[in-house]
């Protein structure tokens, strides 16, 4: 274990040195500068409902991405999002500690539960693991609902806030997201991350070259569930209210979609994916009245007479098709395409100059 840490430490140092010299570095600085300035230019609603969720889901999706980079696709990550959210709020309410400490205690407990779930999962194949994690989220939701006297999960309750909503909370989330994603980046670039990759590609061969696959898969689980819990705590803060619906399957599927759409296994993929999905989620419902007027029951072309509101199913249908198209035609996600477009643009601009 000691060797593992000293190895990872030196590789982290190496990563930082090479990274600071690369072209990516300026790109990251630019992106962070944009993320820091944009909220000052837009209205309060956009900060609260769009930009802050983007950051929170970027942490959440990155945590899923880290787990998937070791070949383990969880279908029940909402369990950890919910544990993080509920425990951080409950600790702050019941013991009176400052909410920020509750936030980290919640993530730690989420990681501890993740350790236990990971123990059962490390020997399983991809499909059984998907099923077990999904099943775990159903068990957790039942437990939280049954212990309603203590958790207050069914009706929900307002969460104690760390800082005010709006810009203060945005910058707090921004700082936490930056540190979390940097940490996950360093893990994925270190020797541990290399082991994850080897296990993902071929677990049997990874074992043959002497990688303790169970240990590394467990490490992936613990790190991933810690950050999922952190994202859950922040999410509870951002909507100021926590309820049992946070354990729902849609919250388990969201990070998966974000990673696939952005680009699985890369560090920028989940961030891009979360920006896209959150933007779709917050802006696309605005065309619902138009869709209802066009296709709905009393619409111009009543294509779907059985439904009163065609907007939401149509949107999710589109999302499903989008996911299929991405997986089949662009399995590396949208970021490589965006990079390509960027380089083409630069090249054509240069040519024009010449």
């Amino acid at each position: 274990m000691k060797k593992l840490f000293s190895d990872s430490f030196s590789s982290i140092k190496r990563t930082i040195i090479t990274f600071s010299r690369s072209q990516k570095f300026s790109f990251v600085i630019a992106a962070m500068a944009i993320a820091a300035i944009v909220p000052l230019l837009v209205n309060n609603y956009t900060v609260n409902e769009v930009l802050t969720p983007m950051l929170i889901f970027a942490i959440y999706a990155s945590s899923w991405n880290l787990l998937a980079s070791s070949g383990q696709g969880s279908l029940g990550h909402a369990a950890f999002l919910g544990i993080g959210g509920f425990v951080s709020a409950l600790i702050a309410i019941k013991t009176g500690v400052p909410p920020i400490i509750g936030l980290f205690l919640g993530s730690l407990l989420s990681a501890a539960v993740g350790f236990l779930v990971g123990l059962t999962c490390v020997r399983l194949k991809a499909w059984f693991l998907a099923m077990v994690t999904f099943g775990f989220s159903v068990i957790v939701v039942t437990i939280f609902s049954e212990l309603d006297d203590f958790t207050g999960a069914v009706l929900g309750f307002p969460t104690p806030l760390i800082v005010d909503r709006g810009l203060p909370f945005y910058y707090l989330t921004f700082a936490i997201a930056a540190v979390s994603i940097l940490t996950m980046y360093l893990v994925m670039k270190s020797k541990i991350g290399l082991a994850f990759k080897a296990i993902h590609q071929n677990e049997f061969e990874a074992k043959m070259v002497g990688i303790n696959t169970a240990k590394y898969r467990l490490i992936a689980f613990v790190i991933s569930t810690f950050f999922a819990g952190l994202a859950g705590g922040l999410y509870a803060q951002s909507i100021q209210y926590i309820q049992v619906s946070v354990f729902g399957a849609e919250y388990s599927f969201l990070p998966l979609m974000m990673c696939v759409i952005g680009g699985l296994g890369t560090i920028e993929g989940p961030i891009v994916g979360s920006a896209i999905i959150v933007a779709i989620d917050s802006y696309l419902p605005r065309i619902d009245p138009f869709l209802n007027g066009l296709l709905g029951q009393d619409g111009l072309i009543p294509l779907f007479p059985a439904v009163s509101n065609v907007g939401s199913p149509l949107r999710f249908l589109g999302l499903g098709l989008f996911l299929l198209v991405i997986v089949i035609f662009a399995p590396k996600g949208l970021t490589p395409l965006m990079k390509k477009a960027y380089h083409n643009l630069r090249r054509s601009l240069k040519e024009e100059k010449n």
């Binding site: 194949k125 599927f253 059985a306």
Partner: protein, 290 residues
């Protein structure tokens, strides 16, 4: 009376277990031949239920004949799925299959919600409301006939796999794909037939489900999970295992509901599933596994 209640739970368990057997067998056949797990299998069941519902209400077809229609239609959907989605990701990263399944879940559930609405439906069968009562034990004729139909389907499936040429090709492909290719088996065609067969079983399960239970566009997820639990009990890829597992699971579920109440039903199913997997990662009757 505890005993009569228990017998009742047993009978009901066998009946609902039968539906899950069909689903699990379909998953197992597809896995055995293609080494592919379709997490959207329960959504095929849901589509099957809606197709049977539509032909019974719109065309006035007998509900039990509608099972055949549902099988055929869902088999066609299965052919399309295999051709346009799963074939593209077969042999790449295992996670891609999960992603494709998830996309399909979204597509099916929302397409069904658009076409048929979110209201809860049930297929009206000619035997509706009739039940056989012996003493305190009562079971509806619909449940009894569904047990019979599942037995017929399973026998037909057994004959198809053991006696026909395409069955032989499927079994050969499931054993070793490269060798069966060398023996002149058109494996792409085998894949197509396999997926269609698995989907048809899901369609039949859907029609039976619709006759016995209420359904809506989102019912697909739980049957998938139950089919998985059965597969985990019976071993991945084993059809006799699925039959034994399905009966065991149906009985266990219904007795658990009888003694503990319905709230814990799903959580207990999962807890059992996880415990089994912790002790034996390949399932109770599973071989070394893949």
């Amino acid at each position: 009376m505890i005993t009569s209640g228990l017998i009742q739970a047993l009978l009901w368990g066998v009946a609902s277990g039968c539906i899950y057997i069909l689903l699990a067998t379909g998953l197992n056949i597809i896995f055995g031949v293609m080494k592919l797990v379709n997490f959207a299998h329960g959504q095929l069941l849901m589509i099957g239920a809606y197709i049977a519902f539509t032909v019974t209400t719109a065309l006035g077809l007998n509900a039990y004949l509608a099972i055949l229609v549902a099988m055929g239609a869902v088999a066609l959907i299965g052919v399309g799925l295999e051709r346009f989605t799963f074939r593209k990701v077969l042999g790449t990263d295992k996670l891609n299959e999960i992603f494709v399944s998830l996309g399909l879940i979204y597509v099916f559930e929302n397409a069904a919600a658009l076409l048929w609405g979110n209201t809860t439906r049930q297929i009206s069968s000619p035997l509706q409301g009739l039940q056989l009562s012996i003493g305190q034990i009562a079971i509806s004729y619909d449940r009894l006939s569904s047990i019979l139909i599942v037995v017929v389907i399973l026998v037909a499936l057994f004959l198809l796999l053991k006696k026909t040429k395409i069955g032989l090709a499927m079994r050969a492909t499931s054993q070793k794909i490269s060798a069966s290719m060398l023996m002149g088996v058109n494996t792409e065609k085998v894949y197509m037939y396999t997926f269609a067969l698995g989907a048809a079983l899901a369609g039949a399960a859907g029609a039976l489900y619709g006759i016995i239970f209420n359904f809506n566009p989102t019912i697909g997820a739980l049957p998938t999970i139950k089919a998985f639990a059965i597969i985990i009990i019976g071993g991945l890829g084993s059809i006799p295992g699925a039959v034994v597992g399905g009966l065991l699971y149906g009985i266990a579920e219904n007795t658990a509901v009888y003694f503990l109440g319905g709230v814990w039903q799903d959580a207990i199913a999962f807890a059992l599933l996880i415990i089994v997997l912790v002790i034996r990662p390949t399932g109770i009757f599973g071989e070394k596994g893949e």
